[in-house]
Amino acid sequence: MRQMSFGEAIEDVLAQSMAEDPRIIILGEDVRLMRRNLYVRFGGARVRDTPISEAAFVGAALAAAMAGLRPIVEVMLVDFIGVAMDALLNHAAKLEAFSGGTWRAPLVIRTACGGGYGDGGQHEQCLWGWLAHIPGLAVVVPSTPADAGGLMLSALQHGGPVIYLEHKLLSGEWLEFLGAGGRKTVRFDVPQEGARGPVPRSWSPVPFGRAAVRRPGGDLTIVSLAVGVHRSLEAAAVLQDRGISTEVLDLRTVWPVDKQRACEAANKTSHLLVVDEDYEAFGLSGELAATLLEAGIQAKYARVCTQDTIPYSRQEEDRTLPNVDRIVDAALRLLG
């Protein structure tokens, strides 16, 4: 086992994959600075800076993938994906279906997401439920360095369009770039096990659609992903002190979502709490409730999500995003 930060794990997999496959290129805004280690090793032809033209370079990356390249296109923050949405919604997501299943585009869209560092509601969204709503897009959201690497490897091998989301509280490089800016005067509530941890000596793909049990328990099941997993683990420790045994399930991918394990876990405890930093309405948390209903599982259900536009104010932001207090309160109410 080696220890790596979240970003180092991704970079390690990218370096290995780029060395093995010359079709892999990286393009996006500022990537020569942000991915400087790959830039100096693989050269400017493999790591290309783009203009601030998301609609053009995401659409172009898709077509380049259709024509034989394996691009990793970086949309700096997932909030900016709105500008490029047509390329994803109407083109990347549709290609395989429209071509009768004969043409797939191996495209990875890498983008940072999530809040907790005071950047305001146009730079801190998650949007994974919104993206996974569209048939044809795989959406992955790792919560640990080991999964960050393993899911990137799967994304590169997937063959179709994959949106790879990295939460900024887990990614030291992004948090430094956007949040700290060299300051020692600001602190962020970074989940340490998510930001740095053990990774396998040699990488193997983490399959899409397979959730991981992060903590076993018998009274309550929490299903979450990304930073929410770590907040849920903290909440589980608090609940343990009250004699409540909590299972924490990390979905790892939003599409495909591991319905089977979510159902099994809910069935086991009969109490399901979904912790989702994405918006509450019409999203992942509701999808999981529908999944239980469709499977005929009798369980009490609650959710802790982001309900409104994320406020700029740090205090208001902390109240708006799922936090340990909200998770504990919701769990206690659910267990009644």
Partner: protein, 338 residues
């Protein structure tokens, strides 16, 4: 009408002092997120905002503080917003990238290029509701590669909208040199849409004033939109804490932690051809010095430049500066004490 350099200098100096205060509070950790200052752009904001009248609209980017101050937004409410307080301009909900004042018809966006469509829409509303009203879009040259901005410029010409597209050209698209990702010539590009396009030295507030006056008067008379490109400096980088600027100012301290991984990576066996690797390293390491060169062109600080012209009347100048310093001190005291 002629530019009133004293009034323009007061605006610019006041904005600079306010943003220097913001810089200090950001350093102390009291302001969060990506704080984009408009230091270096003050002459562009002042020269353009001086032309605006009641009912005119402003579409701002992520660097909107100077324009809002000059338009008359209360500095106390701006500062309180930056601190994320309920008494802020937007109740602490928007923050420094998302500033709105309905009273001033001023709206910001952190999405690059979004000020283009916003100005087109403000100008469209003016055609119906505010005869002689105009709308201004402020954006950078990096945004000039964003489709929505180019589409808005076309729309403005097609509908002969009373709009002014102000391109604050600081030569950097975030931390990428704009020239490396831009085809053709921006002023020519604007002209190709069929609108007048002018270039002006953006550190010279009087030059900006004259250029903006001509464009805005034309728009008020129904003559349609204009593109105004004003070159300027990014005195505080893309945002506070900009790694490139830190590397330019403190190369040893800032570059040292990056060099180890860079050198380890470049030396790996599999990878690009060696010539390409060396070229990449050279390009990367040259970026901070590009920033440094730009910085050393200190004659282009718009505030200092205007000040030099007013130095002949030193007594009046110092009195003005004392007055503004006092006001900003009061603003900070009031806001921090509240």
């Amino acid at each position: 009408m002629e530019p009133d350099l004293w009034a323009l200098y007061r605006w610019m100096f006041r904005s600079r002092l306010f943003e220097e205060t913001v810089h200090g509070l950001w350093d102390e950790g009291l302001i969060s997120g990506e704080m984009h200052l408009g230091t270096g752009e003050e002459a562009i904001d002042a020269g353009v905002v001086a032309q605006l009248k009641e009912g005119d609209a402003m579409a701002l980017d992520h660097r909107g503080t100077p324009a809002l101050l000059m338009r008359g937004v209360d500095p106390r409410r701006l500062l309180a917003e930056f601190l994320g307080r309920p008494d802020g301009l937007c109740s602490g909900m928007g923050g420094h990238m998302h500033l709105f004042s309905q009273e001033h018809l001023a709206a910001s966006s952190g999405i690059v290029g979004a000020s283009g469509p916003a100005a087109a829409g403000f100008a469209l509303a003016a055609q119906y509701l505010r005869p002689l009203g105009v709308a201004v879009a402020f954006f950078g040259e990096g945004a000039a590669n964003q489709g929505m901005l180019l589409e808005a410029m076309n729309l403005a010409v097609a509908w002969q909208l009373p709009a002014l597209f102000v391109c604050k050209d600081n030569q950097w698209s975030i931390t990428t040199p704009s020239a490396s990702v831009t085809g053709g010539e921006l002023t020519e590009r604007a002209r190709a849409f069929g609108m007048p396009a002018a270039e002006v030295e953006g550190s010279d507030v009087e030059a900006v004033w004259w250029a903006a006056q001509e464009a805005i008067e034309r728009a008020r008379r129904g003559g349609g939109p204009t593109f105004l490109r004003a070159r300027c400096l990014h005195l505080d980088g893309h945002f506070l804490g900009d790694r490139m600027l830190r590397a330019a100012r403190h190369p040893l301290k800032e570059m040292a932690p990056l060099l180890g991984p860079l050198l380890r990576s470049i030396a790996r066996r599999e990878g690009g051809p060696w010539r390409a690797r060396v070229k990449s390293l050279g390009t990367l390491l040259a970026r901070p010095s590009q920033v440094r060169q730009a910085e050393s062109a200190s004659g282009r600080d718009p505030v200092a430049q205007a000040r030099r012209k007013l130095l002949a009347d030193r007594v009046r100048l110092l009195a003005l500066e004392d007055e503004v310093e006092w006001e900003i001190q009061q603003v900070v005291c009031d806001v921090l004490a509240a």
